[in-house]
């Protein structure tokens, strides 16, 4: 292969969205190239072995939002993807008790009653509201965001769809919807529950990956975003990809190469090449250049346009809006190899909920204080974590009898404050270790012998995530999921339809509607737009749900 090969389309970045776009285009008969800066594919959906015998899901670690339509279209199970649901979870208290989120409905009601009799039935109402909101918004995931400012026929059509959907809700539910999209998760939970522990357990989904606190407006939507997925129709359920999250991108990569797609790894895009307002290809950091009239960027919108595109090629207001795009890093990650399953003294022996997501933050106040630390540029002294031991279910992740633990940590700042100076450069090994120590201290609340079992640990600050994966500031969603950056405002007003100000250039990653969470929806939607631009709209399946229909 020469260094000036020409393709129909080039995708920059082999994350799950980039590969999804690439798959759809290749299956539509286009000659497609994917270029990836790392030596491996996957972006933030990767499985890597950093300690012999163990496999980590280094970044994203659980799966639910991946659209089933895409899984089916691209035949991912045939390429080895297996998504295994996990069972419930728990929040441990400081005094040796816990709240277990049990998968059995009646057992869950009993468990809630143990903490608050009043909250037992409240959970049913809470779920009803959340699932109803999810059902309202889910059809929008695999279609363009309706844009009220546009007069293009297809945008008008989407607005009409939204209008009719909203009208179908009725006044009361529509009010609830608007409230839900703008309120805080703390306020929402306070409306439903009285038990601090139950509220704290449920609040996590409202802040994960977000530079906001539990009482910041907009966090209720973030919770919704986490509930929008399902595993086999069980709404809100989460699972593991067998073999780690890299199994998703491996299946996508295999599906792509089977469709005659080409992947080049180990060389990232230096520059998107533009001529007369049209994209003409990419120049890689190893000096190679590839030509194509269509280029999709799986990088986030900031990285794409502020680092790898000539500013002169872009309209000023667009650049300004991109500069303002909020993509703050708020989370870190520990991936831990354990020599045995550590003991959780509070849990009954063999409790199934230990196979789920585990937490130690017990009140909303504690979570809000954790956010305060982050605002000051420090990691939370009492961090919130979402901790799982997938090797209890997935035998491929660790040697027999040994375990892999993934700990998602909130909050950790990108521009760390050391001695009053806030800078990402402050993240050195000393700070990284101190950060990990704060997390281990907190884990000891439920798992006192954790440190004794650690064989190896990968500690990832927001800076590390940016550096390795390329996510600006280490933001896991490629931009915060707040209402000012959702739907027709994502990534920036006027550019919510995946095509960018440079003709032939598309944004295919989670900076675009409907956002992150390993849904692959932006990638599929972008592919649809690209094919529409080529007059080949019918070359991929249409998943837009007709009004009044229900999948």
């Amino acid at each position: 292969m020469g260094q000036h090969d020409t393709y129909d389309a080039i995708i920059a970045g082999a994350g799950h969205n980039g590969l999804t776009t690439a798959c759809y285009l290749a299956r539509a008969g286009l000659k497609v190239l994917v270029v990836e800066k790392n030596d491996w594919i996957g972006g933030a959906a990767v499985s890597r072995s950093l300690h012999e015998g163990w496999t980590y899901s280094n970044c994203s670690y659980v799966c639910s939002l991946l659209r089933r339509e895409i899984v089916r279209d691209l035949e991912l199970p045939r390429f080895g993807l297996q998504v295994i649901p996990y069972e419930g979870g728990a929040t441990f208290t400081r005094d040796g008790d816990y709240f277990a989120y049990l998968s059995d409905h009646d057992a869950l009601r009993r468990e809630i009653s143990r903490h608050s009799a009043r909250d037992a039935d409240a959970y049913t109402r809470f779920s009803q509201t959340v699932i109803r909101q999810c059902r309202f918004i889910r059809p929008f995931l695999l279609r363009n965001a309706p844009d009220p400012t546009s007069l293009r026929p297809r945008d008008l059509q989407e607005m009409l769809y939204l209008g009719r959907k909203a009208h179908g809700l009725g006044a009361h539910e529509l009010n609830e919807t608007l409230r839900f999209w703008t309120m805080s998760i703390g306020d929402f939970l306070d409306e439903h529950f009285e038990s601090d522990l139950i509220k704290a357990h449920l609040a996590g989904s409202g802040i994960i990956g977000t530079g906001l606190g539990v009482y910041s407006p907009g966090t209720a939507y973030v919770l919704l975003h986490h509930y929008m997925g399902d595993v086999d129709g069980s709404i809100g359920a989460w699972g593991f990809a067998r073999g780690g999250m890299g199994a998703i991108t491996k299946a996508l990569g295999d599906s792509f190469t089977e469709a005659d797609g080409t992947i080049v790894t180990g060389a990232g895009v230096e520059k998107f090449l533009v001529q007369d307002g049209r994209v003409t290809g990419v120049a890689l950091d190893n000096g190679d250049e590839y030509r194509a009239g269509i280029v999709g960027s799986n990088m986030d919108v900031k990285r794409t346009f502020l680092k790898h595109t000539d500013r002169a090629a872009l309209p000023d207001d667009f650049v300004t809006a991109v500069e303002r795009f909020k993509i703050r890093g708020s989370s870190g990650k520990l991936n831990i190899a354990l020599d045995a399953l550590p003991d959780f003294p509070a849990a009954p022996k063999g409790a199934p909920f230990l196979r789920g997501d585990l937490h130690c933050s017990t009140t909303l106040d504690e979570l809000e204080r954790a956010y305060d630390d982050w605002k000051d540029g420090r990691w939370s002294s009492e961090p919130y974590f979402d901790m799982l031991i997938p090797s209890q279910i997935d035998p491929t992740m660790a040697p027999p009898g040994k375990h892999m633990m993934t700990v998602f940590v909130q909050y950790a700042p990108y521009d760390l404050n050391v001695g009053g100076v806030r800078s990402a450069d402050n993240w050195d090994d000393i700070q990284r270790k101190a950060f990990a120590d704060a997390v281990f201290d907190k884990i000891e609340q439920c798992c006192p012998d954790i440190r004794r079992h650690v064989v190896h640990a990968e500690i990832r600050s927001p800076w590390d995530i940016e550096n390795e994966v390329g996510l600006t500031e280490g933001n896991i969603f490629q931009g915060e999921l707040t209402f000012d950056q959702l739907l027709f405002n994502r990534p920036v007003p006027g550019y919510a339809s995946y095509d960018m100000p440079i003709r032939g250039m598309y944004l295919v990653g989670s900076s675009a509607h409907p956002g992150g969470g390993v849904m692959a929806a932006p990638g599929a939607n972008a592919a649809r737009e690209i094919l529409r631009g080529l007059g080949r709209r019918r070359a991929m399946p249409d998943h837009r749900e007709p009004l009044g229909a229900e999948a």
Binding site: V71, Q82, P85, D232, G233, P395, P400
Partner: protein, 401 residues
């Protein structure tokens, strides 16, 4: 003892469901308390959660009590001849130390049952099946020098299925004995314990056979080795999902065993069920041969097929239409496949549909949306391959997971 009119006499036979030797273990594990009957024995439909039990089959390893299966031993100088008289395939091609899937028919060529044939020796077979078969076996063996013995309550069975099944067996001390077993191989791994690399899931898996009295100890031995391999006991519901994914048919579900069907015309031939390769017309006479020869010339009246079904709602029992108008068949087993992530089904179509006519087929699915019924016509596509296949199911020696 003197008879007393006041003390009720016990029945001469047990009334109600009776336990297999494993009931104490299953009882202790059961949270769902979802018991059902299987050949008169207590069997678990679900032990705690069908979804997690299913995923243990495809991701870890599972134990399922198959002791209620009917088991018959066929021995004696004419044992091979009896088998060949009985089944439609050539029993001579099932080697010693091998297991073979087989069907057997009545004289009209309609399937009485299907099952597995275990060949222990030149003239030593075991037939494992769903339906009681002693009378038919004795009838088929009439005039042959062979002995038929009902081993149903002498031999117990455990099905150990899932990608870590081999690892678990190795940890339980069976590793050397089973490492070389290829699919459908059978071996006596310890005195009184036979292991076959067989199962009903399409995945890596084994069936372990021993005396009725020894199976509890065997269960405990496997259970003790299961901790590192994610061992989970399962009920029949989870297994049923796996078997449909693997494309295996079930008696009484995908076809009606002809001896049990009262209505005329309910029987189906191996050709209709898609098992023409299981009928060997060149091996000499067998039950149903003449009728099947005639059917082969004439063409089958039905086609049992595998279907990919549109949408996300399982289609169990759905009626099938051609060009959305003409009713041409129905789904016999329909599920959402949690591994293939699509709707799949086994279905019976009236010829020529499913045979010469394969296109423009639709399923009519009724969906209850919280008290409101919705009717949907979704496209269906006939598939040749099972919905689930994996190379780990065939690797020898097997993978660690």
């Amino acid at each position: 003892m003197a008879k007393s009119a006041k003390i009720p006499q016990p029945f001469a036979v047990p009334i109600g469901l009776v336990p297999t030797p494993l009931q104490p273990r299953l009882e202790a594990l059961s949270q769902a308390k979802a018991w059902a009957g299987w050949a008169g024995y207590i069997t678990a439909r679900v032990l705690d959660n069908v979804e997690f039990e299913y995923f243990a089959i495809r991701n870890q390893v599972t134990l399922f009590d198959i002791s209620p299966m009917h088991k018959y031993r066929i021995t004696g100088p004419d044992a091979l001849a009896v088998m060949n008289r009985l089944i439609t395939r050539d029993a001579a091609k099932i080697g010693i130390g091998r297991v073979g899937y087989a069907m057997w028919c009545n004289e009209q060529g309609m399937v009485i049952d299907d099952g597995t044939i275990f060949r222990f020796g030149e003239a030593d077979f075991r037939l494992c099946c769903q339906e009681p078969m002693l009378t038919w076996l004795l009838d088929s063996a009439w005039g042959f020098d062979a002995e038929i013995r009902d081993e149903s309550e002498a031999i117990a069975g455990l099905s150990l299925q899932g990608p870590t099944a081999f690892s678990l067996l190795a940890e339980a001390g069976f590793g050397d004995a089973v490492a070389g077993l290829k699919p459908f191989d059978l071996d006596e791994v310890e005195p009184g314990i036979w292991i076959s690399r067989t199962g009903f899931t399409g995945d890596l898996g084994y069936e372990l056979w021993c005396g009725w009295d020894g199976v509890l100890a065997l269960w405990d031995r496997l259970w003790a080795a299961g901790g590192n391999w994610g061992l989970r006991a399962i009920g029949g519901e989870a297994l049923d999902i796996a078997r449909i994914e693997a494309g295996f048919i079930a008696a009484g579900v995908d076809f009606q065993p002809v001896h049990g069907a009262i209505r005329l015309g309910r029987g189906r031939s191996p050709l209709e069920l898609g098992f023409a390769r299981m009928v060997d017309f060149d091996k000499g006479h067998f039950n149903g041969r003449r009728a099947l020869l005639a059917e082969r010339a004439r063409g089958p009246k039905h086609h049992l097929v595998r279907l990919d079904i549109g949408g996300f709602r399982p289609a169990d029992g759905a009626l099938l239409y051609h060009k959305k108008k003409k009713e041409v068949g129905h789904v016999t087993s329909g599920i959402w496949s949690p591994t293939a992530k699509r709707n799949v089904a086994l279905a019976e179509l009236r010829a020529p549909y499913g045979g010469a006519v394969k296109g423009d087929l639709w399923a009519e699915i009724y969906v209850n949306l919280e008290g409101q019924w919705d009717k949907r016509l979704v496209p269906v596509r006939i598939e040749d391959k099972p919905f689930f296949t994996h190379k780990r199911a065939r690797a020898t020696p097997p993978n660690r997971f």
